[in-house]
């Protein structure tokens, strides 16, 4: 016959043959002298399985072979693997385990190949676990489950040794931990539950012990260095042998034990804690502190709180220093007026520069620290010094920079930079409206008396203020600067008018500055009785002005005027630079040799205050243009005055200053009045839109609306509400006294 029939293999016979192959494999794994499988060996083993699975029933031995496949592993593990592991401990056990696992995987691979036919048909048809999985499961169930606890402990022990600085076999640990991962067959549950949980717990205990010693022994910076180093090393550990998924959990434990638990103790260490670091400008340590504490929940809260306390204390120290300096100087009466206050502002600017740099660099622009800085500055920047509010001090500081002959000698760049910083400080001041009023007052003086050093700087600071506080804040100031520009043009027109109209002759040189009411601070406009020479000037200018506009009204403010007068004294002629008031008084003596106080007062038509002030400047101060009887230091209403024809001075031209008027009180009164109007307007606006509103809500909305300019006192709001009730804008609800109604 050409076809020979294949001989049937029975189970025992076939399995006996397979046993020989498996034994060969075991010998290879055990390192015994055994030649490698030849391709012929492989083919024979594979074919045997194939044949036994494809014979006609009852000789199809697929199920039996599947069972025996599993039994092969189990037998090998029980007889060889486990005994070799059980006899070993610690690191040696770990090494053996790694070797056994590697061998096991090899065994699974080879046997899976021999029994491959089962995977293709029998296992597929029956939906049984694949051969590979069966093999791995055997190891897990027999070896892993018995030993994983001991393995875990050994691994953790080695980790702790490494933490103590000892050298360990990292590759070994990596291989061991890979077993935990691979045993999971795609899931992390074995790694997480059987190893990671215990490792994290041990980590906590380890660092808790360490921290409890370090917190006692180490300074704050040293402790932080250690903490940072520990975190770095734990990160390294993950990179070298832990699974990457452990990193956030591991670091969280370390951070908790080293930082969260001891946060307060660490930060508040008396000589090296956060306060001390700030005091001593330990920038590097503070940066480290930020990096560390930013990693723990709410960790930055105490740091920013201490930062705020520190900055506040520094600021309050500046306030105290300035107060003390001012009172010392007052006792000595030697100081330039307000110099100490100016030094104070300069120091506050420096303080802000310094701590803003901290916020931007050490604290990486974190919002908590910006907030802390803001709140700290808001506390001491609203304190004021020596009876002057910060709003006034800042305005004076700006004036000093912007005016001619100020005590500061700064380059253009330095001026711009300084003004920028002042405007930044203004953000911290509650009473911005007070600053605006003081600033306007001083701006007016710079502009009207030609004391402004640089137009560009004047406009530049207004631009900065506008950016920060809004257009409404600067509109009047901008109007003032514009008025001065227009006034120059107007003067040019006036001079053209004079040259074109021979009949219009003021008789003396005349310059007039036209100002827009509302832009400028309010000035007293007394009906001064001008000398005849000046009356002529006024009339000529009025005629000129009528040619330009017919509907505007001119109000003359003589208190702001300046005159140049030739004083003909016996020794020599001296040119006097005086105010219009002073000039008017002096010109009275062209026609009278001797005048009483009351005669001067009635002829000039000025108030007592003005007359006293001006006569004092002419008879009791440095330049005694007038002789006073009696010869005392103060003006009284019974005095008499004569022209001092013997007066002389080494200079040919002198300026006779009026004693300065303290305008602070008036500015504050004006601002208070404006605030009352602002509160009234706000309340009416709110009530007009709401019609009915309860008291608490009305107050809250009012404070909110006005907060950009000033912080209204609740009592002030309450007073305004009562006033509006009296004026029939509001009424209380009949049944609920807490409820207000708008009256149309």
């Amino acid at each position: 016959m050409s076809m020979s029939e294949r001989k049937t293999i029975d189970l025992d016979q076939g399995w006996d043959f397979m046993q020989k192959g498996i034994l060969k494999l075991k010998n290879i794994l055990e390192g015994l002298p055994e030649p490698q499988f030849s391709s012929e060996d492989y083919m024979m083993l594979y074919t045997t399985i194939y044949n036994m699975c494809t014979q006609k029933p009852p000789h199809d031995y697929s199920q039996q072979l599947y069972d025996k496949y599993r039994e092969s592993f189990e037998e090998y593990i029980v007889s060889t693997v486990l005994p070799s592991l059980r006899e070993k401990h610690d690191e040696f056990m770990l090494r053996e385990l790694v070797k056994r696992w590697a061998n096991h995987k090899i065994m699974v691979r080879w046997l899976s190949r021999f029994f491959h036919y089962l995977d293709r048909y029998f296992i597929a048809r029956r939906s049984l676990p694949p051969l590979n999985e069966v093999g791995l499961t055997c190891f897990r169930d027999l070896v892993y489950k018995e030993l994983n606890g001991k393995v875990r402990d050994a691994v953790i022990s080695l980790i702790d040794q490494e933490r103590e600085g000892e050298q360990i076999d990292r590759a070994l640990l990596k291989n061991v931990l890979d077993i935990f991962v691979e045993i999971g067959m795609g899931q992390m549950d074995h790694y997480e539950n059987d190893f990671e949980a215990a490792m994290l717990k041990d980590t906590s205990a380890y660092y808790s012990r360490k921290a409890s010693n370090w917190i006692l022994e180490d300074s704050c910076p040293d402790y932080m260095l250690k903490a940072e180093e520990c975190l770095k090393r734990e990160k390294d550990r993950v990179a070298h042998y832990l699974h990457s998924s452990s990193e956030p959990k591991l670091l969280e434990k370390v951070q908790h034990e080293l930082l969260s638990v001891y946060a307060n103790q660490l930060l508040e260490k008396e000589h090296s804690g956060c306060h001390a670091l700030l005091r001593d400008d330990k920038v590097e340590d503070l940066s480290r502190m930020f990096r560390l504490f930013s990693k723990i929940p709410r960790g930055l809260d105490p740091v920013s709180s201490i930062f705020k306390q520190h900055v506040t204390a520094e600021g309050m120290a500046l306030v105290k220093l300035a107060e003390d300096a001012v009172s010392t100087k007052k006792a000595e009466k030697k100081d330039i007026v307000g110099l100490q206050e100016q030094v104070f502002v300069r120091k506050v600017i420096e303080l802000h520069d310094k701590y803003l740099a901290y916020v931007n660099d050490c604290f990486q622009n974190h919002t908590l620290f910006h907030k802390a800085l803001k709140e700290a500055f808001e506390i001491f920047c609203n304190k004021g010094v020596a009876g002057s509010s910060s709003a006034e001090l800042l305005a004076t500081f700006c004036d000093n920079i912007l005016k001619k002959g100020g005590s500061e000698k700064l380059s253009d760049e330095a001026i711009e930079e300084t003004l920028e910083k002042v405007v930044k400080l203004l953000a911290y001041i509650s009473d911005k409206d007070l600053f605006a009023e003081f600033y306007r007052k001083k701006l007016a003086r710079r502009l009207l008396f030609d004391k402004s050093a640089n137009d560009d700087h004047e406009r530049s600071i207004l631009t900065k203020l506008k950016q920060q506080c809004g257009g409404q804040f600067t509109s009047k100031m901008e109007g003032m600067v514009t008025d001065l520009t227009l006034a120059k043009e107007n003067q040019t027109s006036f001079e053209e008018y004079l040259s074109n109209n021979p009949n219009a002759d003021p008789g003396i040189d005349l310059t007039v500055t036209v100002l827009t009411t509302g832009f400028w601070p309010s000035y007293k406009s007394f009906d001064l009785n001008l000398p005849a020479e000046m009356v002529r000037c006024v009339e000529v200018f009025k005629e000129f002005y009528q040619t330009k506009t017919k509907h505007r009204k001119l109000t003359w403010i003589y208190s702001l005027g300046t005159c140049n007068i030739s004083g003909k004294f016996d020794p020599k002629t001296v040119e006097l630079i005086v105010t219009t008031y002073q000039a008017s008084a002096l010109l009275l003596f062209n026609s009278s040799d001797r005048l009483s106080y009351s005669e001067i007062m009635s002829q000039l038509n000025l108030s007592d205050d003005d007359v006293i002030r001006l006569l004092h400047s002419l008879s009791c101060a440095k330049y005694k243009i007038l002789n006073k009887e009696p010869s005392t230091k103060t003006i009284s209403s019974t005095d008499y005055f004569e022209f001092n024809s013997k007066f002389t001075d080494k200079m040919r031209r002198i300026k006779i200053p009026l004693p300065p008027v303290d305008e602070k009180k008036k500015v504050i009164e004006d601002v208070d009045k404006d605030r009352r109007y602002a509160i009234d307007a706000s309340i009416v606006r709110i009530m007009k839109s709401r019609k009915v509103l309860n008291y608490q809500q009305l107050v809250m909305e009012c404070v909110e609306q006005l907060g950009r300019m000033f912080k209204p006192d609740v009592k002030a709001i309450k007073k305004r509400i009562e006033d509006l009730i009296s004026r029939d804008y509001l009424e209380r609800d009949k049944d609920n006294a807490n409820l207000f109604r708008y009256l149309a």
Binding site: Q696, K718, E722, S726, N738
Partner: protein, 259 residues
């Protein structure tokens, strides 16, 4: 009268004494409230006033008796004569109640309209009826709602014509008169505070809110709400009491207070 038991007769007499009501009206009120005095008062005061017929001619005669010789009004002198006739002191608080009934615009003045319409609303057209009505008007001060109306009426009545506020001295006098009826223990402190710290006229709002303050805030001020809508002056008063040790930890600490 023999039909009434002794208890009922006593209550009837008490009601008549307090309200000045007629026996018939008193009986009606007591029966409606099942002979409970408090209920009877409520019933009586809440009833719309029965329009008693008044003789216009008699009212005219009364008006002419007290009217000023030159002005068609009753002025201070006329009021003095009126008080004499009805046997009431001009300073008596019942004159305030009368002014309230008359809707008098100003203290010490009654226009003809005010006088005649006021007396009509009270059912008075003779001096005898006037005298009979005095106890009734006095008793109205015991009704809380009426007291409030009279109190708030007093502000406009007592202030100078054309002014918005009430002069301080006048206000103090009025408070002493009014709170004599209500027994507010802090009234003297309030007046002292105003003279020491305020020394200015009193606004209508402060005037009316003070009554609420006296009624709603306990005399130990433990329930005072400084964050509330009380007028500024009352806030200041509470501060003053605390500063001067008159009120401490919610307890009155003034031995001069008599309970």
């Amino acid at each position: 009268m023999h039909k009434l038991g002794r208890g009922h007769r006593d209550k009837l007499q008490q009601f008549i004494t307090i309200t000045g009501a007629s026996e018939k009206i008193a009986l009606q009120a007591l029966k409606a409230s099942d002979w409970h005095l408090e209920g009877a008062f409520d019933f009586f005061y809440n009833q719309p006033q029965l329009k008693t017929f008044t003789d216009s001619r008699h009212l005219e005669e009364l008006y002419n008796r007290y009217k000023d010789a030159y002005v068609d009004m009753i002025l201070a002198d006329g009021i003095t004569v009126l008080c004499n006739d009805i046997q009431v002191d001009p300073q008596d608080i019942v004159m305030l109640v009368l002014s309230w009934h008359m809707k008098a615009g100003t203290m010490c003045e009654f226009s003809k309209k005010e006088f005649i319409e006021g007396l009509q609303s009270l059912g008075i057209d003779s001096l005898d009826k006037f005298r009979e009505k005095i106890p009734y008007m006095r008793s109205e001060l015991k009704d809380e709602q009426k007291f409030r109306e009279i109190y708030n009426f007093a502000f406009g009545w007592a202030k100078e014509k054309g002014q918005k506020s009430l002069a301080l001295d006048t206000a103090i006098g009025m408070w002493q008169l009014l709170f004599a009826e209500k027994q507010w223990p802090l009234v003297d402190h309030w007046c002292q505070f105003l003279q020491a710290r305020h020394n200015k006229a009193i606004s209508r709002d402060t005037w009316s809110q003070l009554l609420e303050f006296a009624k709603t805030v306990g005399s130990n001020l433990s329930d005072y709400d400084a964050e509330g809508a009380w007028p500024y002056l009352i806030d200041e008063f509470v501060e003053y009491l605390n500063e001067n040790g008159i009120i401490q930890n919610g307890l009155i600490n003034d031995s001069s207070l008599k309970w």
